[in-house]
Amino acid sequence: MNQRHEHELSPLLAEHVAAVEPVPSEALNAAQDRLQLRLRAARPKPGTRYPLRWAAAAMLALVVSTALVLPLFSDSGAAFAAARHHFRNFKTLSMRIEQRMDGALLQTTQVLINDQGQVRTDVDAQLSIIVDPLRGDLLTLLHDSKQAMRMPLPVAVPVRGGTNTPGLEWLDEVRNFQGRAKRLDQPRLIDGHEASGWKLDIGGSSFVLWIDQQGLPLAMEQQAGGSLELLYQFEFDAVIAAQVWTTDAPPGYTLVEGGPDQD
């Protein structure tokens, strides 16, 4: 007699389903407004693709990019003007990022971004992720197993006004950032260049950005919580071969279709 109805949920499942939250009405209204704006701006051209703020792939690039650039706009003084110019006007930006825990190197990541919004991330020698918002593609390469997985990026991009430049929407958010930077007393030599350090606390993380005397950003340190530290090295406008950005699977790699999305 205690047997449940065929489609009844167990107490455990029912408890979890009941925990799913109601939709906040203010979020709903705001979403509706933005949807209408977005549809008004959309052009019905078949094949047109747009980058997406929360696309899983773009997330990687944007998190890195936003973390990188936030400090640059947190001080309205002249000290950051040149650095801001570099970050706003680069053709290519190359970042080498070391992740360290208690000083021990955990992982090295190379991130390349160009002025088209294309982003390539190489994690050690194991994994590469290429995001091409123009093609609307994300390519993941697993180098050990020589596997490639390509997936489309979602097509929507929220309209918030501003640059509307594919892949660079984060600039709008950055421009609205308010904060304070503190110049460190001691300069530092980086690759033979004297650099000034600027310290900022943003979102619970502490950043130090190192800028040379011409305003070129050279490096950045981020305390990411606990004993985790991220060390960035920058290079602007290096010439990068076109094939670096391609989302076609390279020769010798097996294209894995769909992956776990298939039923």
Binding site: L13, V17, A27
Partner: protein, 172 residues
Amino acid sequence: MSPAADCEPAELAQLYGALVFKAAYRVLGDRAQAEDVQQDVFLRMIEKRPDTVRSWPAYLSASASRAAIDLLRRHQRWRNLVPLWLVSLPANEDSVEAHGEAGQRAARLRTALARLSRREAQCFALRYIEGVAIAEIALMLALSENSVSVSLHRARQRLETLLRDDQSEDAV
């Protein structure tokens, strides 16, 4: 069936945008992601109109739940790929999962849902999160009622196992 050409996406968005957002939000638990799904659903209609639609609310609910499930599964797959330091970055502050025990339960359910097949996850979400009847789900997904029932049965079993395993790990 009514010809889709009679309805402009902007009109449909006005009528059913909220329904799509709600369906996506309840699966994803995140405003920004739900908004992305909502826009995605209607923008895809601009790119390619569906030929015929029996019921717009049913069609759009199915589209929203499918897109949300796909996003959930993509994020799950992504978590397996991205480096630890990115995954461990603070979540979107609008995410409901950051708050409270109930939020954690909802988050566990979503994580488990992402590990089901797309069909099972979609059937489960429509039936138990959206409260759609089995006969209606069958129409929405162009399946037989029996197929929907089988998918629901498998989904419940798998979720039960995943959630119990999750609880056991937490207890250790």
